[in-house]
């Protein structure tokens, strides 16, 4: 099998299933098959889905720098999948918050709506997280090849929001803890490196462009 088919038929399905494992473990822990979610299972679910969301956005943003540093171009074939898993984990995190923590599923819309709206508009860290979810939703629905073709240059613009999602994720994490920054500082550091590399490469490229290339003096 050639590399492209190997990636498509072996590696992609394998990585896909691996990406689902953290979510699966939350469910099996909830039903106390593999472990337990402890004394506060709703909080544990929120934490675990949220932590994996932030890990996945970092992984997604790491694809391009890793490719450049290692020359492993096949990595690019996993970028969309990682991005969609970021969306998946942010969405599950949000749904646990809305349905169980705020209790939409338990108490009904009329009961929880005022508190939900207050949280979304007045708690900065929740506004940040929700903004990230909106951006991810837009990216997820336009993630198909057909959409990419149809949108042309606008597609790239929209999908630059991945950087915003990374920033919003770190910020959201940083602000929700009792006394920040806790583990959020590690994700902030990773994010800074991923953005820093891009800025560095961009500046390098600009330098090269602005310098006129003397054609005749190229030595063998």
């Amino acid at each position: 099998m050639d590399t492209i088919r190997q990636i498509r038929f072996i590696w992609k399905p394998t990585i896909f299933l691996l990406c689902l494992v953290p979510a699966g473990l939350v469910i099996t822990d909830l039903f106390e098959i593999t472990g337990t979610l402890g004394a506060n299972p709703v909080e544990a679910m929120l934490d675990r889905f949220g932590t994996w969301a932030i890990r996945f956005i970092m992984l997604t943003l790491a694809v391009t720098p890793l490719r450049k540093l290692t020359g492993w171009n096949w990595l690019a074939r996993f970028r969309r999948m990682f991005g969609l898993f970021t969306f998946f984990y942010v969405l599950t995190h949000f749904l646990v918050w809305l349905m169980l923590d705020r209790g939409l599923y338990i108490s009904g819309l009329a009961e929880v709506l005022p508190a939900v709206l207050e949280d979304l508009t007045e708690r900065t860290f929740i506004t940040l997280g929700f903004t990230a979810l909106v951006l991810l939703t837009a990216m997820a629905v336009t993630s198909t090849a057909a959409m990419r073709r149809r949108m042309g240059r606008r597609w790239q613009k929209l999908h630059y929001s991945a950087y915003a999602v990374g920033m919003l994720g770190v910020w959201h994490y940083w602000w929700q803890v009792k006394k920040g920054p806790d583990d959020a500082i590690y994700y902030a550091a990773i994010f800074a490196v991923l953005i820093g590399l891009r800025v560095y490469w961009y500046l390098q490229k600009r330098k090269k462009k602005s310098r006129p290339t003397p054609r005749a003096t190229v030595t063998p």
Binding site: A39, P41, A115, K178, K179
Partner: protein, 320 residues
């Protein structure tokens, strides 16, 4: 401390048995999972049985609530005790080797009687009482805990504070070798400190707890002695107390030092005054199913009748 062998079956032992059953389920589940290393935290959070000394002659109290108790396991496996790490399961997991005794408590400041006392000597003059209190954490969750403790008011009176004493300041043990959370100096400004006004400290609700469920206080809950003020957020309940000082000026608590805009001296439970980053209007009662709704938070955690008069004329929005 008065310690005797268990004589007859008390409600706490029923819960203990329940824990055993849960543990068994757990081990079974673990073997199904085939060595997935997920079982560790909970198993090790269960306090070793030999440490579970029974407390004798524990009286009842009119201040106890009849709400459903949280299980022994909930109370000892979900804690904020950063001396042993900042995760909720950390105190249960990291305090297994901690042997609190021998323990000394220093009483100093503006009082007629001062000195350093052995733990047994310190608690001997008083009666032990069971106090079943709601505990509301500033993080918007709550538990119902059957503390065993002694009236803080009785302790304060015992040392005869002078008219200069306006506040009682508490200080916790600082021992980074035995409390690994303290090795991280950025976590908090160790040692942990707290304080109460004299009026708060002598309110009948305030106790120093030396046990839960009729047994000596487990390590994750602040062994051997900690403060319990049920109308205040849980972080006021300083654990592992080694010093009690009668002072003239309002002491600054550890959380005030860490985040003065978010944590104040009074820290009374108040559903109308939100934490700057989250709402305090409702809380999640630990131990319920994932489908249990949040419950509304009560002013002074439902203890207004006993404590509201302490704050007459005080702006509780400013004095959070």
């Amino acid at each position: 401390m008065l310690i005797k062998k268990p004589a007859d079956i008390r409600p706490s032992e029923i819960t203990t048995k329940d824990n055993y059953l849960k543990r068994r389920d757990f081990i079974r589940a673990g073997s199904i999972a085939g060595g997935l290393a997920m079982a560790g935290p909970v198993l090790s959070a269960v306090v070793p049985d030999q440490r579970r000394a029974q407390l004798a002659d524990v009286g009842k109290s009119e201040f106890s609530t009849d709400e459903t108790l949280n299980s022994y396991e909930d109370v000892t496996s979900y804690n904020n005790y950063w001396e042993f790490g900042s995760g909720k399961a950390d105190p249960g997991m990291n305090s297994g080797d901690f042997d609190p005794l021998p323990w000394k408590i220093t009483v100093d400041g503006h009082a007629e009687k001062t000195g350093t006392f052995d733990f047994d000597e310190f608690i001997k003059p008083y009666d032990l009482e069971e106090r079943i209190y709601r505990m509301r954490c500033v993080e918007a969750w709550s538990m119902v805990i059957p503390w065993v403790g002694i009236s803080l008011g009785d302790i304060v009176k015992h040392y005869k504070p002078t008219s200069k004493a306006k506040y009682v300041a508490f200080q916790a043990l600082h021992d980074p070798y035995r409390m690994r959370g303290q090795q991280n100096r950025r976590l908090l400004d160790w040692p942990y400190r707290e304080g109460l006004t004299i009026a708060e400290a002598t309110n009948p609700l305030a106790i120093l707890a030396v046990g839960i469920y009729g047994e000596a206080l487990p390590n994750p809950n602040g062994a051997p002695i900690r403060l319990v003020t049920p109308w205040k957020y849980g972080f006021k309940g300083i654990k592992g107390i080694v010093r009690m000082s009668f002072v003239e000026k309002m002491p600054r608590s550890s959380w005030q030092r860490a985040q003065p805009r978010e944590y104040g001296f009074y820290a009374n439970v108040n559903p109308e005054v939100d934490h700057p980053r989250w709402s305090q209007a409702s809380e999640r009662r630990i131990g319920g199913s994932v489908l249990a709704p949040r419950i509304p938070t009560q002013m002074f955690n439902g203890y207004g009748e006993q404590v509201a008069h302490l704050y007459d004329g005080l702006n509780l929005r400013k004095n959070y």
